[in-house]
């Protein structure tokens, strides 16, 4: 490990001022960043520890909007009564991730900005366009069985590994950011970028931008929501495909729906095509399947990841069917 400095400011403004240089990284739980530093993927010269900042809250305002501080630990978020009752999809997604020990350390801010698990990205002895722009993308010919079928580019087919972000995407979460220009808000759907020709740029955040909180807009029917994750072992592994869904049914018609997919794209994938196909339509498995297929029509599977198409289709059908049965 190389030498680096360490600061632990108490005010966001100080943190942002310290983090303006590209060689600086915020340190939250450290469960991803420290691993990447040990691997030589991240080589910051200064870590700005955000754990003294006042962002460990979950609160509700008068309009029912729920605000989650960026420093809230994943375990605390999943256990929070407000989250469990109003947004079960979020509690389930967080609990489906990593392990108990990791969730005790990991924070909301860090979880949102964790990096891809593409094995080439994590191995500095190999080329990777995301890590070393222009060096190539060996995953295309190599091990991509858990990489993207949607939204990828010639330059990069990495997937975003977060479970939490899939649920937040389905819930239309809004991210509070503070950077050199001051505080502002970014809808989560606009936080992440598709790789295109510059996969090293993963977000729309300015350099040194600090995530301070995440807002969950009121969505009464999210009380009936679910996260379903498929993975290679029963626990402690990243998704090979996941679905976050909330369903609002009136009689036998879909009144509203939220649907997002994980482990299929460089970003948490909001399935707007499927949502549009479902709204106003019947509540049955054929309709659910047709909607999933409509979304996945754009999929471009590679040699070893075509299974994700039926996997996601099945997960959509099953999750919506279970939500419908419960309503």
């Amino acid at each position: 490990m190389r030498q680096f400095g360490y600061e632990r400011p108490e005010y966001a403004a100080d943190a942002v001022a310290l983090a303006e240089r590209p060689e600086v990284r915020y340190l939250a739980g450290g469960t991803n960043l420290v691993d990447l530093m040990k691997l030589g993927v991240e080589t910051p010269d200064l870590l700005v520890d955000v754990s003294a900042l006042p962002y460990e809250f979950v609160q509700e305002d008068l309009d029912g909007l729920v605000r989650i501080g960026a420093g809230v630990r994943n375990s605390d978020l999943a256990a929070h009564a407000l989250i469990r009752s109003r947004y079960p999809v979020l509690a389930q997604a967080v609990l489906a991730g990593a392990s108990g020990q990791l969730r005790n350390m990991a924070t909301v801010g860090g979880n949102l900005l964790q990096r891809t698990r593409c094995v080439y990205f994590q191995d500095v002895s190999k080329p990777c366009n995301k890590r070393m722009p222009g060096s190539g993308c060996p995953a295309r010919k190599g091990d991509h069985h858990n990489l993207a079928i949607l939204g990828a580019s010639d330059q990069c087919i990495a997937t975003n590994p977060s479970d939490m972000a899939v649920a937040l995407t389905a819930l239309d979460a809004v991210v509070h950011v503070q950077d050199h220009a001051g505080p502002h808000e970014v809808p989560l759907a606009e936080l992440y970028r598709l790789p295109g020709s510059d996969p090293q740029r993963e977000t729309t955040l300015a350099p040194g931008a600090l995530i301070t909180a995440v807002d969950l807009p009121t969505l009464p029917f999210a009380r009936r929501s679910r996260y379903r994750k498929a993975r290679e072992r029963a626990s402690y592994s990243f998704a090979i495909g996941s679905v976050a869904a909330a369903l609002d049914v009136e009689g036998d018609v879909v009144r509203d729906v939220r649907l997002a997919f994980g482990a299929v794209a460089p970003v948490p994938w909001r399935a707007r095509t499927a949502e549009a196909a479902l709204v106003g339509g019947p509540v049955n498995e054929e309709a659910f399947r047709a909607a999933a297929e409509a979304e996945l029509a754009a999929a471009e599977p590679l040699r070893d990841n075509a299974y994700k198409v039926p996997l996601i289709t099945n997960l959509v059908v099953r999750t919506l069917a279970e939500l419908a049965a419960g309503s």
Partner: protein
Amino acid sequence: MTATTAIGAGLNRIEAAAKVTGAARYAGEIPLDGHAYGSVVQSTIARGQVTMIDADAVLARPGVLAVLTHDNAPRLHRADDTDAELLVLQDDRVRYRGQAVALVIAETLEQARAGAELLDVTYQPEDHDVVFAADHPRLYAPEHVNPNYPTDTSVGDVDAALASAAIVVDATYSTPAEHNNPMEPHAAIAQWDGDRLTVYDSNQGATSVRQALTTLFGLADGAVRVLSEHVGGGFGAKGSTRPHAVLAAMGARFTERPIRVTLTRQQMFAMVGYRTPTIQHMRLGADADATLVALEHTAYSQTSQVLEFAEQTALISRLMYAAPNLRTRHRVVALDVPTPRWMRAPGEAPGSFALESAMDELATACGVDPIELRVRNEPSVEPDSGLPFSSRNLIACLHEGAERFGWASRDPRPGVRRDGRWLIGTGVASSTYPARSAPSTAAATALADGSFVVEITASDIGTGARTALTQIAADELRAPTERVEVRIGDSDFGQAMIAGGSMGTASWSWAIAKACRELLHTLHEIGTVPPEGVTAHADTAEDIKAQAQLSRHAFGAQFAEVRVDVDTGEVRVPRLCGVFAAGRIINAKTGRSQLIGGMTMGIGMALLEEGVMDPQFGDYVNHDLASYHVPVNGDVHDIDVSWIDEHDDRLNPVGVKGIGEIGIVGTAAALANAVWHATGHRHRHLPIRPDRVLTSLA
């Protein structure tokens, strides 16, 4: 035989308190005055030449003491039996990706690692060949397979028998590279005192490491001492000296300071061995009444350009079933890959997947129950050699297991049991593993205060060996276990078998029993223990040479229940049941743990573990525990382990067969057979990952 009181009891591990309080020191934690750290630099090409190593920039960094490369590293000596993998930094050739090309030595671990990351190594790469295939043009028949078995065997006329068999199963199975991942990564700290070398090392046998280091550094007998008091697992990866120990000794010689070298988890995937991938072609022929008429097992595996390692994959087919026409063959190909090594039940683990899956396919083809198929084909002597078995209780295990598991009510039809979105199935497979003993020495001392000390270079890699050996010594000495101290893990105690091949306890217990009996005899003669104590020594080399020629094996039966999610292809394992006939079980608690551990690793083999070779680079790309999946608690539910009370007095004085490996033999086949029973799809390629199951269900 002496009356036993301690043997069989579920005694807690003697060093348990030391381990949970952190008092027990592992090799990487031993502090020696003034020690520094070595960090290994690995090659980033799979084949070619190191043309230049520019160490100046690294040497200028703070704390860096030296950069060892093939240009300046101490020269090593080799003997005929030297493991070529240990000849590190001796030339500029790169023979696989991940080979050690330099060692950066610095005052702190961080400085050493930073230096290793930054070291500038230039290569002249050559085209590499890393893709293992059953039709590889360079496949050849090795002279023998591990450790020293004939490569090919043939009894009768397999082709003719298959041509006229009523029922034939002809299928190809494959298993991927699997990586030993003991909890403790390999570590060593080495110190020189003139021409005497002391190494604290993480290994499965300190005398074999002592021997290798003595040869490599051209030292006098007795000049090297290897200490390995506590070892955090090995699964075979620490069964022989590994390069980290040689590098530590080289670094210490070069810098004239104690040097500690610890491998990272990622480095282990190239530097400590792994289980070769296998491809296995099975041909089974049977009469209409399910009597085997022919069995052919052809196994392909890979080795490296460094040395030949020929996995004994088809060995299991030489002894399991009574086929009058029986042929086994092994072929290997040397690729530009790290050398495969032993991993828990080498040979039998992959071999049993093919054989026991094929038997299941044959049972279906014949329309008989898979247990009945095995009963009908139970041999009276070892089919290949004609040797009698010292004991063989396979059928008893199958019947006992069937009872415990509730096999009798099983509906044989595949793909018909459903619980919501889950398909449910059950499967069975046989297990076996050789029961051998190897020469070892031991010393037993009676002290004047009435206590005893036993010294043997045994190795406790977390199995509970120290505790089991204490129980054995206590019974032999007719003393309570509290009065007997067994000291292990120090090569100065003399030559002994490694903790490997399920031979540790079988070999060490023999030497201990012999030394203790000798000691009692002496005590009987002299009456009282003199103030300085009295010691008896034993060496079992002659006893083992004098053993009758017999087929000695442990046997077992494994049963599995699986649930397969029809939407995702995820396979879950609510139940495993294993019944074993493995001679005497010395410690009921640690013995059970060994078997549960083996079966748990079998879950990994069946469903999760797979080293993914990337032909572009020539390495296993998923080289960490986040991407190389081993079972976690969530994957392991009910594991019912039991054993048959087996007395075999033609093994060794204590009647031990060894239980370290048999637990993983057959598990993968039992699970694959259960997945077939659940889904109707036969998975002949491991691991049975969700993507593969889902694709097969489509």
